[in-house]
C-alpha cells in the first residue's frame, strides 16, 4: 500500500501584518514591515523599544468579557486563526470526523501576559490574592485545549514547546500522525504572545536584540526583533480532502528533526544540516528538487552565517540555484509561532511568489545565497523547505510541495 499523503486545505493567521490570512499574505507580497514602536505594553524601563506587535488584534472584537477572563492573548490568537483556517477549508465536524481530528499546536511560552500581569500584582503591588483562573489561562496547553473545545475536536491533542522550532515540530508531527493513520485531519500550527515586560527584559539580557530593525542576511544585521502571532492550518489526508472536494493549497511531503547536542544557544551547522537532510529523506527527494528555502533567518550575526553554511553543505551545487528568504524581516521572530507563520510564506513561494527579505541593505559574503531581497519575486519552485532552528539546538525542517492534483 502506498504511503498516505498529507495536504493543507485551510490556513488562518494573526500577525503584525494582518489579522487574517489575506491581509498577512498581502503584507508579505508588498514587503511591508510589521516592526514598530512598542505600544501594547508600557515600554518605560525597556532598552529595546521595537517589536512586531499584532496591533490590529483586540480580543474584545472576538470574545465576550467572560471568555477573555479564561483566555490569555496567546489563546485568543490561536482560536481566531483556527476559526479562519477551518472556515477556509470548508470542513465540518461530525462526531466520527471529530474523533479522527488531531489538534497539535506549538507555543514556546504559553500565557505570558497572564503570568506577567499577575507577577506584577503580587510582587510589585503587594496583592495578597490573585484571580482563580490564572492557572488555566497561563498553562502552555491552554491554546490547544481551547481550539479543541471551540471546534469539538476529540482526536490526539497536545502542545509542543521547543522554543523557536515549536511550530515546525507541531506541524511535522501532525503530518506524520496523519501519514501513519493516527488521524485523518489535524488542526496544527503555532501561537505566541510573549511581548511582555518580563519576556522582553529577559531577551534584552541576552544581548541579541536589535535596537533598530530586523535585517536577515544583510551585512549590517545586528540582531533579532521579537514578534507575536498565530498561524493555524487544516491538514488532511489527501483522499479525505479530495472526497469532499476541498481546495488544496499545498502538500507537506517531508519533515526532518534532530538535536545539535552541542550548545544551549550557539547554532550548529552540522545539526542544522542533519535536519535538512532528514527532511529530504522523509520526503523521498534529493537536493536537486529543492527550489526555495524559507530560512530560519533570525538576523543574528551567527544564525544567518551558520544557516547559509548548512544549506550549502547539504544542497551542494543546488545551493547556487535556489532562492532563500527570511520573512522574520517583516513579521519579526514570533518564537513558538515562527514556523507556522513561515509555512504560510513557504506555501506562497511554492505557489509562485517568493516573499521578500526586507531591510536587505548590503550582501554579506558569509551569506552568499540568492536572497530574495526587498521585493517579492515570481519563482517557479514546486518544492520548498522551511527551516526552524531553536535555542537549545533543536532543529525542525518541513518540506512542502505545490499541489498540482
Amino acid at each position: 500500500m502506498s504511503q498516505r499523503r498529507v495536504v493543507i486545505t485551510g490556513q488562518g493567521v494573526v500577525s503584525s501584518l494582518g489579522i487574517n490570512a489575506k491581509d498577512h499574505l498581502q503584507g508579505l507580497q508588498e514587503g511591508r514591515s510589521g516592526v514598530s514602536q512598542i505600544e501594547l505594553i508600557e515600554s518605560e524601563g525597556l532598552n529595546i523599544k521595537i517589536a512586531a506587535e499584532a496591533k490590529g488584534f483586540v480580543g474584545a472584537d472576538y470574545f465576550s468579557r467572560d471568555e477573555i477572563v479564561l483566555r490569555d492573548r496567546v489563546t485568543q490568537m490561536a482560536i481566531v486563526a483556527a476559526r479562519e483556517a477551518i472556515e477556509a477549508s470548508g470542513i465540518e465536524f461530525d462526531e466520527e470526523r471529530a474523533l479522527k481530528t488531531a489538534t497539535i499546536l506549538g507555543t514556546s511560552m504559553g500565557g505570558q501576559h497572564t503570568q506577567d500581569d499577575n507577577y506584577r500584582l503580587v510582587y510589585r503591588e503587594g496583592k495578597r490574592r490573585v484571580h482563580p483562573f490564572i492557572v488555566p489561562r497561563l498553562m502552555a496547553n491552554a491554546p490547544v485545549s481551547w481550539v479543541s473545545m471551540d471546534n469539538g475536536l476529540m482526536g490526539p491533542s497536545y502542545s509542543v514547546s521547543t522554543a523557536c522550532a515549536s511550530s515546525n515540530h507541531a506541524i511535522g508531527q501532525a503530518m506524520h500522525l496523519i501519514r501513519s493513520g493516527g488521524a485523518d485531519i489535524a488542526i496544527t500550527g503555532g501561537t505566541e504572545s510573549g511581548l511582555t515586560f518580563g519576556v522582553l527584559k529577559a531577551w534584552e539580557g541576552m544581548r541579541v536584540l536589535s535596537h533598530s530593525n530586523c535585517r536577515p542576511f544583510s551585512a549590517n544585521r545586528d540582531g533579532l526583533v521579537q514578534g507575536e502571532g498565530a498561524a493555524i492550518f487544516v491538514l488532511e489526508e489527501l483522499e479525505h480532502a479530495k472526497a469532499r472536494g476541498a481546495n488544496i493549497v499545498g502538500e507537506i511531503i517531508g519533515f526532518g528533526m534532530g538535536a545539535d547536542a552541542s550548545d544551549i544557544v550557539h547554532p550548529s551547522q552540522e545539526g542544522a544540516g542533519r535536519a535538512i537532510k532528514a527532511a529530504l529523506a522523509d520526503a523521498k527527494i534529493d537536493a536537486s528538487h529543492v527550489g526555495h528555502i524559507n530560512a530560519h533567518g533570525t538576523a543574528t550575526a551567527l544564525n544567518d552565517k551558520t544557516e547559509t553554511a548548512a544549506v550549502r553543505s547539504v544542497l551542494g551545487a543546488q545551493a547556487g540555484k535556489i532562492t532563500i528568504t527570511s520573512t522574520k524581516s517583516m513579521h519579526g521572530h514570533a518564537i513558538g509561532a515562527a514556523g507556522a507563520l513561515e509555512l504560510v510564506a513557504t506555501l506562497m513561494a511554492v505557489n509562485g511568489v517568493a516573499p521578500p527579505t526586507i531591510n536587505y541593505d548590503e550582501p554579506d559574503p558569509d551569506c552568499d545565497l540568492d536572497v530574495v531581497g526587498n521585493e517579492a519575486r515570481d519563482i517557479d519552485a514546486p518544492v520548498a523547505l522551511s527551516n526552524s532552528f531553536a535555542f537549545g539546538g533543536l532543529n525542525a525542517v518541513l518540506a512542502v510541495r505545490r499541489f498540482d492534483g
Binding site: 539580557g205 541576552m206 544581548r207 541579541v208 549590517n220 544585521r221 545586528d222 538576523a299 543574528t300 550575526a301
Partner: protein, 88 residues
C-alpha cells in the same frame, strides 16, 4: 585609568573565569582567558551590576561605538569612561 576601577574589573573577571587575579592582566585577551561569548555577556552583566552602569553591548553588533573587549584594559577604559560620564 583608575587603579580602583582596574582592580574591580579584574576581580569580576577573575571570579567569573575562576582564574587567579594575577592572570587577569590588562593586556590579557578574552581568548587567552577562555572567555567565550556566553561568558562575555555574563561578565558584562556583573560589571553593570557592580558599577551600576549600562554598558552598550549587542552580541551581534559590528558598531565600533559599542562596547568591545579585545583586552582587559579596554574594559577598564570603558568602565572609567562610563563612571565619569554618569557620575553624580
Amino acid at each position: 585609568m583608575s587603579d580602583d576601577i582596574a582592580l574591580r574589573v579584574r576581580k569580576i573577571i577573575a571570579d567569573k573565569t575562576e582564574l587567579d587575579l594575577e592572570k587577569i592582566t590588562l593586556d590579557a585577551t578574552p581568548e587567552a582567558l577562555g572567555i567565550d561569548s556566553m561568558r562575555m555577556v555574563d561578565i558584562i552583566f556583573e560589571l553593570e551590576e557592580d558599577f551600576d552602569q549600562t554598558i552598550p553591548f549587542n552580541a551581534n553588533a559590528q558598531d565600533p561605538s559599542e562596547f568591545s573587549m579585545s583586552k582587559v584594559g579596554d574594559v577598564v577604559d570603558w568602565m572609567t569612561k562610563l563612571s565619569e560620564e554618569n557620575a553624580g
